[in-house]
Symmetry: C2
Subunit: 205 residues, 2 copies
């Protein structure tokens, strides 16, 4: 009997540092944990590789996947579609591998509905002040887009109660360590493994 | 607002290696985690220090503590009482420190009743064969006491479902790492900290 893999979803408000934590985490996870590759309709940027950074799709192809319920979650952002292909995730979990998703909050809550036993991690900036300076630090914001982003991020904080864990991203190394600890703990969880343990007890008889 | 400490209970069948794992864990926990000191009515062994290894009590004193509901859990083992003093645990948790208990399974399930939000960790030997050789390895067993201990341990496996986590003690270092991960993950748990997070969100407004 193979112990089923975990679906771990790292999410949180814009500016929390999801991408940075995810990138720093990946060298520390075992071969048993796969980073999910998203589909997108936006054009590839320089250096981006099909199947590594994204699966690049036309809008028609993407809409077709949505219609066939092949997207675990998806969203339209600034006129382009982004989403997580369902089949890849399901096939990987059944093999006993863990799947790691780094996505926006709207998507994370969609995943919870389709995979109730996923592990939702809410990454938060250490404070709203810090969030403010991180968004400004990108240097690409006008006053209007800043207000939009900051307001949305502050608003998103209220979704904490729908998550399983909160990780405060004060230092990337500490946040990475906590995410790793959560993954390890969840793999030891009785609720998640009861069927497996019962089979071991039966074997022992 | 102080985040309340965790009450972590490491338990499991006789021969699982609770004492060894606990001893190896202690140098790795922060000052914020206190190992609970039990009360006992047995005589001190050479080198054992009052208040460090145990609080040594007379049988009358111990019975008095039970009567006053001052024992979080207790048991009579080979004619002596062993138990966990409730006041120490409560006072330590309220200060925001974690308390670590290493106790028998009967006691662990008593603690669950009095502290439903404790974290119960079930330490298991990698297999029943391994358990057999560990009990025999103590060298102090007659055939009769071996059968008694082994039968009880195998029987205790069925209580897994009442625990939160299972840690397989195949290697002490790996088991210690998993217990540490569980503690870290539980400290990030949303369910455990919702009141705390809500107060932060209120502050941010």
């Amino acid at each position: 009997m193979v112990q089923k893999g975990l679906l771990i979803v790292l999410s949180g408000p814009s500016g929390a540092g999801k991408g940075t934590v995810c990138k720093a985490l990946m060298p520390h996870v075992t071969d048993n944990t796969k980073l999910s590759v998203s589909c997108t309709t936006r054009n590839p940027r320089e250096g981006e590789i099909e199947g590594v950074n994204y699966f690049f799709k036309s809008k028609d192809e993407f809409r077709q996947l949505i219609e066939e319920d092949q997207m675990l979650e998806w969203a339209e952002v600034y006129g382009n579609y982004y989403g997580t292909p369902r089949r890849y995730v399901e096939e990987t979990l059944v093999k006993g591998h863990n799947v790691f998703l780094e996505i926006e909050m709207q998507g994370a809550l969609q995943v919870r509905k389709k995979f109730p036993d996923c592990v939702l991690i809410f990454l938060v900036p250490p404070s709203l002040d810090e969030l403010k300076s991180r968004i400004l630090g990108r240097g690409s914001e006008t006053e209007e887009t800043f207000n939009l982003r900051f307001g949305a991020a502050a608003d998103e904080m209220k979704y904490i109660s729908q998550y399983d864990y909160v990780v405060v991203n004060d230092q990337v190394e500490t946040a990475v360590e906590k995410v790793r600890a959560i993954m390890q703990a969840e793999l030891c969880s009785v609720a998640r493994n009861l069927e497996y343990y019962n089979s071991l007890i039966q074997e022992g008889k």
